[in-house]
């Protein structure tokens, strides 16, 4: 072991400590949590998890969150693909300005948009549906997806396109059969980032939903304030929100470093 591997080890330990504490707390009984300090759960209990899996207001929170995140990821990547292709292959009127304008949307504080978003989605009748949150999250996910995919596409030589057209491929067939498989790492990375930013965002998701599409994160804040701060339950719910992210990151683990390096990101 080299001497400098101590830095990543320390860093990872620092990252894992709060997560460990959350997981440990989720297995403790409320009595034990409030009774005093213990490094490990003294009596293991699954009571908090049982509550979450049997109470519809809890488990529907997870289903709602996963639903709008999935819709958002699909929409963002699908519309970003042709746009990124255009930005990387063609020059057209106002292309640079358009690209910059797209990126500026990543800079708008969500706090600025909370109220107008509520009014907009109420006006079009989408309030409290998965679509409202999925579409609202497009604001920052589409620019990001375009940015990442454009970087990947820039790395593919133009000769590939030209050869395919000479061989008589139509554009849609070329795009689906040849181009898409070539940049599948980029699609993976873009989808990963869309998933991530939609999964972790709360302010807009909370503003745009009330009952039927309420995300798990909002259920948690309600519990924290109303039910007299049930720490064990809160910790269990928090632990469960880490799992989808962990699964997704496991799938793209090989693409992350390679993906960043290939793309312009």
């Amino acid at each position: 072991m080299r001497k400098r591997s101590i830095i990543p080890i320390l860093y990872i330990a620092f990252l894992m400590l709060p997560i460990y504490w959350l997981v440990a707390m989720s297995f403790k009984t409320t009595q034990e949590i409030l009774g005093g300090f213990s490094l490990f759960p003294q009596t293991w209990t699954l009571a908090s998890y049982r509550t979450i899996f049997t109470d519809p207001t809890w488990y529907w929170g997870y289903i709602n969150s996963i639903a709008y995140v999935t819709i958002n990821t699909v929409i963002s990547v699908t519309v970003a693909l042709p746009a990124a292709y255009a930005f990387s292959r063609y020059r057209f009127l106002g292309d640079k300005q358009l690209f910059f304008w797209l990126l500026t949307n990543r800079m708008a504080p969500a706090a600025v948009f909370a109220l107008p978003f509520f009014q907009l989605y109420s006006a079009v009748g989408l309030f409290d549906t998965y679509w409202a949150v999925a579409l609202a999250h497009c604001l920052f996910n589409i620019p990001l997806a375009v940015w990442i995919l454009e970087g990947f596409m820039g790395g593919v030589p133009k000769e590939l396109d030209e050869t395919a057209f000479v061989d008589g491929y139509s554009f849609p067939r070329f795009f689906l059969k040849i181009f898409l498989p070539t940049i599948k790492a980029g699609v993976g990375v873009a989808a990963f980032f869309c998933f991530m930013f939609s999964w972790v965002e709360l302010l807009l998701a909370k503003t745009l939903t009330a009952v039927y599409a309420k995300p798990i994160a909002a259920t948690m804040t309600k519990t924290a304030s109303s039910a007299g701060y049930e720490l064990g339950l809160l910790a269990a719910a928090g632990t469960l929100t880490i799992i989808p992210g962990a699964i997704v990151i496991w799938f793209v683990r090989n693409y992350i470093a390679k993906g960043f390096a290939l793309g312009r990101v």
Partner: protein, 287 residues
Amino acid sequence: MRKVNQKGWLFVLPVVVLVAFNALIPMMTVVNYSVQETFGDNVFFWHGLGWFEDILKSDRFQAALGRQAFFTFLILIIEVPLGVIIALSMPRKGFWVPVCLVTMALPMLIPWNVVGAMWNIFTLPDIGLLGYFLNHVLGISYDMTQNPTAAWITVITMDVWHWTSLVVLLCYAGLVSIPDAYYQAAKIDGASNWSVFRYIQLPKMKQVLTIAVLLRFMDSFNVYTEPFVLTGGGPGNSTTLLSIDLVKIALGQFDLGPAAAMSLIYFAITLFASWLFYTLMTRNDVK
């Protein structure tokens, strides 16, 4: 060279429509509110630039902006160098690479309010791991609900915990794209570690570092959920950052005019600073 092809607009049309729907309509609503005054009952009348003047002159706004700027400044000077150091000391190949990447990326995938709640539990004075350790093992009096300095340190530590990995991952990607031949050449020339860093690694990382600084700037300047869940802006107003203050005015007090004017000023500052960063950091490329 890219071909001139106006068909490009056809390809970007869906993106433009979707983003414009989400960006322009709410933005117009905000602009609309920012120039009007109301006495309730949905009756609005023209107020000109009055709100903008009020906001810019108000002590409350200036204080929140000051705290926000200080927060972002601390985040950048801590996270960027730390991220570079960690990326430099990570293994380049082998079994440990995916392990490092996955564990490091994990904090970024946790919903923001869970991050706040997690740190809250972690730092509770008597039953949190960190709080207990500081208070009862090291004997340092630590309670972030009472002490503004403790609250600030906790908020900063939480953000470092949450986002340094982004800088690490981006820099790491820049580093692995350096061919081995560069290092061999440096070794033959007898270059020191410092000059390898200064003349090989740093230039290669420059592009990803620009993106890292920009993303960290934008996101830390707009941060809301994590500090709000952790401290609620307190104790007092000591950790009330700009976005927390904005939400208080807009959704708490429902003062739509001032909130809208404040939103626009806020957005303009972010936009201008991002543009400035971007121009400064890419200036040398153009020459």
